[in-house]
Amino acid sequence: MYSEKVMEHFNNPHNVGVIEDADGVGEVGNPVCGDVMKITIKVDDDRLTDIKFQTLGCGAAIATSSIITEMARGKTLEDAARITKQEVADELGGLPPAKMHCSVLATDGLKVAIDDYLTQHGREPLGEPLISSDPNFDPHAETHDDACDL
């Protein structure tokens, strides 16, 4: 089902953890839907110098979390926020169609963390504001039909 690269990142995820003195924090997802991601970032000169994540979720959720930390590190905030779910999936050698929504979790989480940093510094957020702590927030709602509707 999963590509080798997905399994690699799932079995040995990179950059797991929490940056204690993070410059930005993003938390998306919902345990009712079965996946939650928290991402913490360090920013220097508008570049991501460090990223760590924690994820509750399936193999794809963990693997996409892991890979996006690799993809984003070293990028400017703007470039990092522009990483698409398709790029995340491609970088992993593809995801099963039913799992594409998991890469949204990763890209959304990163965007929320970046916007958190920007708003903390009184700057305009890059994306639409995502309210990560809303229990009814559903990152999947747009991306497929049978959304989590409990």
Partner: protein, 396 residues
Amino acid sequence: MMHRMDRSVYMDYAATTPVDPRVTDAMLPYLTEHFGNPNSLYTLGRDAYRALESARESIAAGVGAQPQELVFTGCGTESDNSALIGISQMAAERKSRRHIVVSAFEHHAVLHPAEWLAKNGFDLTIVSPRADGVVHPGDLRAALRDDTALVSVMAANNEIGTIQPLAELAEAAHERGALFHTDAVQALGKIPFDVSEVGVDAASFSAHKIYGPKGAGVLYLKKGTPFRPLLMGGGQEFKKRSGTQNVAGAVAFAKALELMLAEQADEAERLSALRDRVVGGVLDGIANTRLNGTGPKLPGYANLIMLGCEGESMLLQLDSKGIAVSTGSACSSGSLEPSHVLLAIGCPAEEAHGSLRVTLGRFTTDEDVDRFLEVLPPIVERLRSMNPLYERMYGA
């Protein structure tokens, strides 16, 4: 390269089972030498016919039915679909009964045909099991109507293993003149099951859950039960299911059931003990875990919740250590809703995502259980350590 264990531990017997070597031996001659079409008149065909009929007799004896009451089908799903649609539509035609009742935690092979009927002229009532994992006869009674054609409640649930009070449920249905079908795919051979004792009108079975091959099912239809065939054609199986019969599959089914029944009592004891070790080991050894369904259960079935873990992750991590189990987490199925079974018994979605179904069987050993109990705790711990909410939600 993935690091893999030499020894693999299969603990998903509810999903499917290996064909027992004794079953393979029994069926093989019907693929090769005795390959005749059982509907052919010459010796080769008559030999196949005799094999088919003696398989039918043997299965009938095993479930307390008459041979002519058994129909060989292509799988458990076909048996379920045929029962739901074939009985309901014919009962509607003959007796103008247009209401059906199914339990909320039926297999989709029952639920989906029921929903289809609901879109095609029937009223559908869905009865919930209680938190114990049992459909209570009083709850069924409340759902019945004077025009109820058919009630379908499974003999034992495939995810939590809880055994249903079939005799009382069937009686409740019959009191109101409704027919009663049970999906006995999981129960068959594992606990005593006799169609005439429990008094059901129809029952579904599948070979691959009892160490027979995939693609071989049986439908019990009590004599006189209104029915229209789902598969129409050559008129095989007493005109109730057309298609050249899978003789080897039928022979295999009979042999598989024979073995299940011969070993039932011993296996029930052995598997219950192993299951108790699994459950005890998990509940005592890992914090924030619990067991689903308090009702009586099939031997060897355990559905455990590991709070703060997601099922598919656990499953894949266990697999990388050579252990096969399943989960009711949505993510494993490509949908987002976790198991409808767990939701039906009142398990909150966020907990259902952390479920592991462990089902033991004929080839499960004590060492398998040891290995499972050794491998699971660090996996749970690691996944919890990666869960950003774990401390907040379940921390001490």
